[in-house]
Symmetry: C2
Subunit: 123 residues, 2 copies
DNA sequence: CAAACACTTGAACAACTGTTCAAGTGAAGA
DNA sequence: TCTTCACTTGAACAGTTGTTCAAGTGTTTG
């Protein structure tokens, strides 16, 4: 592991304390990772419009039940979605408002910052 | 691909239109994915406290320059961080407020919802 | 109780991704 | 200009992850 000198560089005296604890950071990373797959994010976006059962989600995305179920398992492991049995069916919904905000925030960022394109200066 | 019947199930007439366009969703997924690695998220969290050069980030995390640089490359590809040359050094900073919010939001979610633990009811 | 329905799960394989090393680039200083 | 510093990049390997299939679970209906 290289540790370069970097001497003579006037680093301002930055606060070097950890802003966040390691455990929260790890869980946040897992949360992001779960949302970081287009197929799963599509499910989350669908659920942002209202709860749905697995069959509905499968039909909407034209995927097999198994595939959708596996994705939901990942999402559930990170508390992104919750499930609730309703007779024969199992309905899924977003776990809380944080998730919804997270998704909208990401879509906002994605919408405004085009990759590989210099943004026009704010006139 | 199995398409189960799901008949006789009274699905409320859900709005089946796409809430988000496919391109934005893909970019949002890429954004989440970039943040979904603990090592990269740690860098982002560090930059949330103020900009820093690669050497600083490497020293803080006790990693090699190369490793950190590769991570920054991924973050930069998703417009999460921006860089600015300052003489010999290249300073990195978070690209915009969206990113900061995204991270704080995720940390909030991570902090409040413990995985594998039934939350106490809000007394 | 048995069958059908609506999912869930484990395992296996292919595809993807992160890390590392070695070589390369560009700016600043001798 | 040559060297050094600060960083970047491509390639390769190892570890991770998503998808799929086949088998399993729990609930309702006949």
């Amino acid at each position: 592991m290289k540790t370069p000198d970097c001497s003579g560089h006037d680093h301002p005296n930055r606060p070097r304390a950890k802003l966040v604890n390691a455990e929260a950071l790890e869980r946040a990373a897992r949360l992001f990772r779960a949302l970081g797959e287009e197929s799963r994010l599509r499910i989350v976006a669908a659920l942002a419009q209202g709860e749905a059962c697995v069959t509905e989600l499968a039909q909407a995305s034209e995927e097999s039940l198994s595939t959708v179920s596996q994705r939901l398992r990942v999402l559930r492991a990170e508390n992104i979605v919750v499930r609730r049995r309703q007779g024969k069916h199992i309905n899924y919904a977003l776990a809380d408002a944080h998730v919804t905000e997270l998704v909208f925030n990401a879509l906002a960022h994605a919408g405004e910052s085009q990759p590989r394109r210099k943004p026009a200066n704010k006139s």
